[in-house]
Amino acid sequence: MKKKGWKELPEGGIIKNVPTSQELKTGSWRTQKPVWDPNKCTNCFLCWLYCPDSAIILKEVNGEPKVSGINYDYCKGCGVCAEVCPPKVKAIHMEKEEL
């Protein structure tokens, strides 16, 4: 996202059209990224429950919620999803983020 120059910003440091937190793509902070394997996932939702950034995407399939991926715009790479994924399942593992 291209940052605005001083001539383009609202004056006085105010923020218009609040809330604007969704516009701040915090995914750029990541040094490691979680990789999710749909073939191993049992849809226990532990990762969804623990994710502090609501970055686990759920979609409805045949009337049932299913894990469908990770929102990398907001995932900061904390790794809690990989940590809570049951050891017998191991559907999420962490990889180094390519900068």
Partner: protein, 395 residues
């Protein structure tokens, strides 16, 4: 043009400030008393109690709270004023920067008084010079009459450029000295100022905004750059407002600086506020003796009108800059340092020296004024002198 009705009243500086505030009729005044500015809000609170103004008067527990309340009210779109001096202004220091950066046009009636320690209640400029980099427009007035009119102009200037303004008068010398003030009719003042049109309003729930959020390394610099630009634009606004005011109400107030007998001056004195009165007398005496000396009274210190000073001083050979405050930096006072810096690019490169005087209300008699002129004359004639002198202090 219809006749402008002016009333001549005998008022002290504080009374003149309070009277201007009554006519301005601000929406909110939040203040805390401090010598020698106490009377401003004391008199104003009487206007509130007597129902002569519509103002919400907030009696707070400190000047820090006073400026905080002013900021909140101003962000909600109110026309806001306050008054303070010395330690009070120092206690506001943190909030002054917030008022200016949030671009809130608060107007502050300030009475110049020395800062402690040692504790002292009398005039010098160390208080407002301490806030010179806070992003506020600063207008230093010579007398009560100029203070009264400048306070009214300040509201117009502040609300046009969305920056706060402090208007100052010398403590006791002017704040408690009675003189003739030519006041305008209240209706005329209120019609002239109209209603404030705020840049934003934090209470407009249909258009929600966020005021004062965290601004990290990726945006803080851009917001500061905007503020610097606003201060640059303030120069044109100040000129426009004061020129229009003079035309509208038949006055002759200087805009940035007053030039006194500068036409053919070979050397000059620069001074601010009430000491200019004594200095003009000394210039007259020297002119009688055939000395080509002039005086510049600097009125607007922020924004710093360096272009105006370059023009006024381009033909003089020597300048004595007077400071009623010292920067305790071993090279003189703040006015001296900025004036000298402003004139560095002049091809004529006049010789400049600094006279620090009147600290803590030390009297500034005519003999000292004449001494200063004679020293600058010696400087003009090529004598080698220390570039800072302390006038009126016992060795």
């Amino acid at each position: 043009m219809s006749e402008i009705l002016k009333t001549r009243q005998a008022l002290t500086g504080n009374e003149a400030f309070a009277y201007a505030m009554k006519q301005i009729n601000p929406d909110v005044v939040a203040a805390y008393p401090i010598t020698p500015a106490t009377e401003i809000v004391q008199i104003f609170s009487k206007y509130v109690a007597d129902g002569e103004v519509d103002t919400e008067f907030v009696a707070v527990e400190s000047e820090h709270s006073a400026m905080s309340a002013c900021i909140g009210a101003s962000a909600a779109g109110a026309r806001v004023m306050t008054g303070t001096s010395s330690q009070g202004l120092a206690l506001m220091h943190e909030m002054l920067y917030i008022a200016s950066a949030l671009r809130l046009p608060i107007v502050l009636a300030e009475v110049n008084r020395a800062l402690s320690a040692p504790i002292n209640i009398h005039c010098d400029h160390s208080d407002t010079m301490g806030s010179r980099d806070s992003g506020w427009i600063q207008i230093y007035c010579e007398n009560a009459n100029e203070g009264y009119h400048s306070l009214i102009q300040a509201v117009k200037i502040a609300e046009t450029v969305n920056l706060p303004v402090m208007v100052t008068l010398d403590g006791f010398i002017i704040s408690h000295g009675m003189e003739v003030v030519e006041t305008l009719d209240t209706d005329v003042v209120r019609q002239y100022l109209g209603k404030r049109k705020p840049m934003y309003n934090v209470l407009d729930y249909e258009n929600p905004i966020m005021v004062g959020p965290l601004d990290l390394p990726d945006y803080y610099f851009e917001h500061k750059r905007q503020q610097i630009e606003a201060m640059r634009k303030a120069k044109a606004v100040i000129e426009e407002v004061i020129t229009d005011y003079n035309k509208r109400f038949c006055f002759d107030f200087p805009v940035f600086a007053e030039a006194y007998r500068m036409e053919d001056a070979e050397y000059a004195i620069l001074v601010m506020s009430s000491a200019a009165g004594t200095m003009k007398e000394a210039v007259d005496i020297m002119r009688e003796k055939g000395e080509k000396v002039g005086l510049v009274r600097l009125k607007v210190f922020r924004p710093f009108p360096f272009e105006v000073l370059q023009e006024l001083f381009k033909n003089v050979k020597a300048i004595g800059v007077m400071d009623r405050a010292d920067s305790v930096n071993t090279m003189g006072g703040p006015v001296f340092n900025e004036v000298r810096s402003a004139l560095y690019d002049l091809n004529s490169r006049p010789r400049i020296m600094n006279f620090v005087f009147g600290l803590g209300g030390r009297d500034f008699p005519l003999s000292d004024a004449l001494y200063i002129i004679n020293r600058v004359k010696e400087l003009k004639e090529g004598k080698s002198l220390d570039f800072v002198e302390y006038v009126g202090v016992r060795e």
